[in-house]
Amino acid sequence: MSARPGASRARRSLIVQGVTFGVTAAVLWWLAHNMSASLERRGLSLGFGFLTQPANFEIGDTAWLRFSPEQSIGRAILVGLLNTARVSAVGCVLAIAVGFVVGVLRLSHNPALRGVMRAGVEVIRNTPLLLLLLFLSTSLQGLPSASHALRPAPGWFLSDRGLVLPSIAVSGLTTWLAALVVLTLALRKRMGRIGWRVVAVLLAAVGLSMVFRPPSVERAHLVGFNFVGGTTLSPEFAALLAALVLHHAAHISEVVRGAILSVPRGQRDAARALGLSRFQTLRMVTIPLALRAMVPLLATSCVSLIKNSSLAVAIGFPDVVSILNTTGNQTGHNIETMCIMIVVYLSLSLAVAAALNRYNTTLLMLDAQLP
């Protein structure tokens, strides 16, 4: 009978899986038990109840979510998480953009340009990120004091307190309509032909709501030590963002260069033979082919950028690690804060990796559709 060998193989595989699972579970149980026993011995208790306690500390740099000390520790951690997400998201996009341009320029036919790019990449790539971060953070302290702030544009102030911009408050209705526009743009393909019409109608609605409820502009002004009103981009955020972007752009540029070089020469020669210009060849042939080799490595770069953003503690940017450290120190719940830190970084990294892998699959599918 032909089914027999298959069945026995299935049974064997089931046994192997069962044993593997059993051993893993036993090891995990043992580790957990060991930890709780030694915690008991040292008189430490575990639990996440402290998250609802009032924080009693202030956070100097917040975005989107307001925070005051009487709010809960949980909210403080959320504010820190948003700060990490903010610097990582902007950093990742900028690093890829800068890295892409630099990587392409490193293959330029202009020797001076190529040389400058190479020197820059080598210097940054072979310097520890922490050093770059401290250097940038110290350099930004050289900006003039708040009372002698530079004014690059009306209502803008550049000083050692950061870049202060006028804040624009848009009415609630406009915000919702704009969100709908973004949503429709994302779902346009599924909506078929009426997609564009819906977008046009929504855009008109946004315009009308802005006419009837014009956005209010609030300008900052100096009161005592600091600027009041407006939006502040803190020097710590700027230094962290710049350091992460420079460091990772240098790495990404190497990935881009390698990927472009991996495209077989024949493809380029064929494109040139068809009469495409050098730029057209790059845009229409080389880069689409190189993207396939690039995307998995870009995902890795973004994930390590997220993790490197935790160096924020060195310069005083309140990211999630900094807030969790403070929490651990004030409440003594160090193990729980470590658990939270692991969960936060694991989920951020996995989410980014999943998104870029999906994009990669789309690329490969596109590739399969080619004649």
Partner: protein, 354 residues
């Protein structure tokens, strides 16, 4: 293939659940006697090792290595006093420098026998965490260091200012409490490393640094021109500095307590490092008992009967230690203030040796 992936996923989920259960177990503290270190264990371990392990935090005047690599400072001297009491040798100490943030894990894990690193006594540390505090060896309070050019003369004038704070201290909490009590607002910039905070103050990123008073005196010496900075007179908190030990080891705590008391009592008797030898022949029975010339008051726990004399001769009394590390002849130029003897209007008071 899909079946094996599913099995692996289920396995992972179960594993995660086990861990979560361990994390969220929320076991209540066992109020029993075996909480923390067991009685006598620390002393036994110290004797067997032949050295005291002392957790410190580096800072001018409190703990710094000299040009020969030997640790010097106020905190260091109390650790040395302990080593002299136990081994009659001021060098039988191993120092472990910690940041403010690592210190408690270091003590908890048994890496050091005590912390003498500027830790303030607070109720939550004593009640929630498995530590016990020794006697208060420095009465301090949190203050502000500002550039003279800012023309700020008291803390309430700092409304709206950006204030640098070192992470992992009570300073963050005190600053927030002070701001709420006085209806002022501060923008904190929380630094992990003090040097980063100092460079931020020098660069103008921060309008002030807030720290314990003693810490500010040290910090001021780290600035390029210390005379351009002033410490504001306000004290926004009480910071009683004490040595910290693991809870549950009473013998060890007693030794830490009485070695410190001895340095205070010696100052009260006028016995210092310079003249200690003369007092060995003193006719005063209290002094004879104190120095261990007559038995009964200071022997026990297997200590050398003359340990008090050894401590004073080798390390000094409280004023010797203070003057050498923090006093007017040092860069810190700290006043004794509250840290004078009770007979001089201060708070230092040793229980009697008898």
């Amino acid at each position: 293939m899909t079946a094996s992936i599913r099995a692996a996923l289920i396995g992972l989920c179960l594993g995660a659940l086990t861990l979560l259960q361990a994390c969220g177990a929320g076991s209540a503290p066992s109020g029993g006697a075996d909480r923390g270190a067991s009685a006598g264990a620390t002393l036994r371990a110290v004797r067997a090792r032949g050295a005291v392990r002392c957790g410190i935090t580096q800072g001018t005047g409190f703990a710094t290595p000299d040009d020969a690599g030997r640790w010097q400072g106020f905190d260091v001297d109390f650790c040395r006093a302990l080593a002299v009491a136990l081994f009659d040798d001021a060098d039988k100490v191993q120092f472990t420098p910690y940041t403010q943030q690592q210190r408690f894990s270091g003590l908890q894990s048994g890496e050091v026998d005590l912390l003498a690193n500027g830790t303030s006594v607070t109720s939550s540390r004593a009640l929630h965490q498995p530590f016990q505090f020794g006697p208060i060896y420095l009465y301090d309070g949190q203050g502000f260091l500002v550039p003279k050019s800012s023309k700020v003369s008291k803390a309430s004038m700092l409304d709206g200012a950006t204030v640098c704070v070192q992470q992992g201290t009570t300073s963050e909490l005190n600053l927030t409490d002070f701001a709420r009590r006085n209806h002022v607002s501060f923008k904190p910039v929380v630094m992990e490393d003090l040097r980063a905070a100092v460079s931020a103050l020098a660069g103008g990123r921060c309008d002030a640094i807030t720290q314990d008073g003693a810490g500010l005196a040290t910090t001021r010496t780290m600035l390029r021109d210390p005379s351009n900075y002033v410490i504001l007179p306000d004290r926004i908190s009480k910071e009683p500095i004490a040595a910290v030990v693991r809870s549950g080891d009473d013998q060890w705590l007693e030794i830490v307590n009485w070695v410190f008391h001895a340095t205070v009592q010696a100052e009260e008797y006028g016995i210092g490092q310079q003249n200690a030898a003369q007092f060995l022949t003193s006719p005063d029975p209290a002094i004879r008992r104190f120095l261990g010339v007559e038995p009964g008051a200071v022997d026990g726990l297997g200590l050398d009967p003359k340990w008090v004399y050894n401590v004073i001769a080798k390390v000094g009394n409280y004023s010797d230690i203070f003057d050498r590390n923090l006093g007017a002849r040092t860069p810190l130029r700290m006043e004794r203030g509250l840290n004078r003897l009770w007979t001089d209007g201060g708070l230092l008071y040793s229980p009697p040796f008898r």
